[in-house]
């Protein structure tokens, strides 16, 4: 199911967060959002998973206007991994994962896809099933939340920094899993190299606007990265995967 944003704008507390954001995630595609802190990545994602209401523009999921769907309806199609965390209620891991079934409750239609145990297995967290969610490390929490997203059986995955807190192996494994699932995915990523290696398309956000978009090799150029992030970047080819990789240096450093 494809996702299309057109001229989306949103403000909060009188401040414009994103302006005229347009991008498309083709069905089954993995599209990354990169940009400096405060550039509007999370705001864009929030519009898609509906905790922010766009003032202008349209968001279409599978050709249908998102704003015209009920929250429950869109939650059956979209699963999201947010940056939010709470520390009051000590749910077990299984309970947290089961929450992914919430939007499907009452509609006993097709129950294909992951069950909670299978989802935990998929993210390599079976052994945590009865642990308290609050006792987990950041990376374990992240993987459990991904398992919850799988249980939700979404057509669209929205991931806000899915590799946050993960060690390098689990970073690669999470992206590898997302890849293999083949679900349409829109993800914000801090790490430009992960974006370059895994995403079909990358959109670069700066001050609330999309300043570049396309295949990583065309978008993540020294010029764009330099202009948007204020660092100097060199692009090299990964010797094994041929993916573009970026090497960074502070902007003010002079060459030796």
């Amino acid at each position: 199911m494809d996702l299309e944003l057109n001229e989306v704008a949103v403000s909060a507390a009188g401040k414009r967060l994103i302006e005229d954001v347009g991008l498309r995630v083709p069905s089954g595609g993995l599209v990354g959002l990169v940009g400096p802190n405060g550039s509007g990545k999370s705001s864009t994602l929030r519009c898609v998973y509906r905790t922010l209401r766009p003032e202008r523009g349209s968001i279409r999921l599978g050709g249908r206007e998102l704003a015209a769907m009920s929250l429950r309806e869109s939650a059956r199609l979209t699963a999201a991994l947010t940056q939010e965390s709470q520390a009051e209620f000590d749910f077990t891991v299984t309970e947290v994962v089961e929450m992914g079934l919430t939007p499907h409750r009452g509609s006993e239609a097709d129950r294909g896809g992951y069950d909670p145990a299978g989802a935990l297995r998929a993210v390599d967290c079976e052994h945590l099933a009865e642990r308290g969610f609050l006792t987990l490390s950041g990376g374990e929490k992240q993987r459990v939340l991904i398992a919850r997203a799988l249980v939700q059986r979404p057509e669209l995955l929205v991931l806000d920094e899915p590799t946050n807190h993960l060690d390098i192996r689990h970073q690669l494994e999470v992206l590898s899993l997302v890849r293999r699932l083949g679900i349409t995915t829109l993800t914000a990523l801090h790490d430009l190299n992960l974006a370059a290696a895994w995403c079909d398309h990358v959109h670069v956000l700066s001050r609330g606007r999309v300043v570049a978009g396309g295949p990583p090799s065309e978008v993540l150029t020294p010029e764009t990265v330099g202009a948007v992030f204020g660092v100097r970047a060199h692009v090299v080819e990964h010797p094994e995967t041929n993916a573009p990789q970026l090497l960074f240096a502070p902007a003010e450093t002079t060459k030796k």
Binding site: T82, V96, T102, G118, S176, L177, G182, A243
Partner: protein, 461 residues
Amino acid sequence: MTAPSAPPQRAQLHDRRGPREGALAQSHVSVIPARGALVRSATRRKGTSVVRQSFTSDDSTSSPSATRSASDGVPPGVNGSNSVERTNPAPTARQDLTGEVHPGGEALERKPPEKRPARARLPLLCTLFGAGLLVSVVCGVALGPTGIPFGKTVELLYQALRGGVVPAEDAGIYYIIWDVRLPRVLLAAVVGAGLSTVGVATQAMVRNALADPFVLGISSGASVGASAVALYGILGALGLYALSTAAFLGALAATSLVYLVARTSNGLTPLRLILTGTAMSYGFSAVTTLLIFQSPKGNAAESVMFWLLGSLGGVTWRSLPVAAVVVCCGIGYLLLSGERLNALAMGDETATTLGVDPAGFRRELFVLAAAVTGVLVAVSGAVGFVGLMLPHLVRLLVGADHRRVLVLAPLAGAVFLVWTDVLARTVAAPEQLPLGVITAAIGVPCFLLLMRRRGTTLGGR
């Protein structure tokens, strides 16, 4: 369902002893009420203990429909490119995400018997607490300044329920049982169940485990109304109902004010709700204090204080129906909302992505908490501790999942408050103690003990 000859009614705040049993024992009983509808509504609550969703079962065998088909988008490099992920343990060698190979899927099939104490315990606990509630009610009726043998209590209660005949020499005792003690015990159960359940809902609503139903300014608002009646005779036209009505109106006014002040363009936000409620509570308490000090009556402070700490003195059958119906509706609604409460407890964004509108749901919970607590405060004063601690105790027993907590919380709350009330009227008999004193005296040590034993991450780490 009302008794043929109601005991002398007192709506005064300073009625600390309730109806005097000695005097009542001499009054006659000629007609025995048929089965009380209220009795049934209270015992029927047992029936609600079955709401356990099927998917919480321990069965971990997954559906063979497995996952979505593995994508053709092979990741560039990295180990997992050729691994196939299935939710169904296949009898062949299997490579999982970690890259480890489990020959014959052995690692998956040789599952150690899992301990799921919190889940497995629920039916047992419900049976225990359900039976405990019945026993507690009988004990609550039997125990008191006028001791009544258990056998006699059970027999008389049975006769009352089936509309039988009571021998003339038992008439006095029967009167105490049916018209003085039973309504009081049942109301204790209703109040306990209500406060405990609403406590659970309030804590999820403001996402703070230290919240209780009174955080919304309900009790302090009710106290303003109650003091106005007690000290100045406002609403005198309503007679017996003046106090309850004023307390309820006070609670309603206070919560409405809290709601209006706490409201933002994003609906009610947890922190703002707590802070507003707390600030307003101080304000209302100040008004109550002012009323007391300006009062023409001498013992004003004492009588209002007694009411504020909670008391079931002077309860009759007439106090029961409204409270019971409101509490039952509240519990029923919450039992159906367990999953949504879980989602809300995880955070507003998470709730949204799970299809639960946090603003709308929080509004529903606010109205429910205000209505139930307002009614309860009107009939019993502000009984502290129950709404704060019982949800914690229940969570220590069955875990945080609201689908389980909400099944046990009403039962546990009912049992707790029945015994609290028994103590309140026996410990210092013939004087009665405020319920709040007893709830704190029992609850605090009990709670601390459980918390230490479990070593949970209660209230965050």
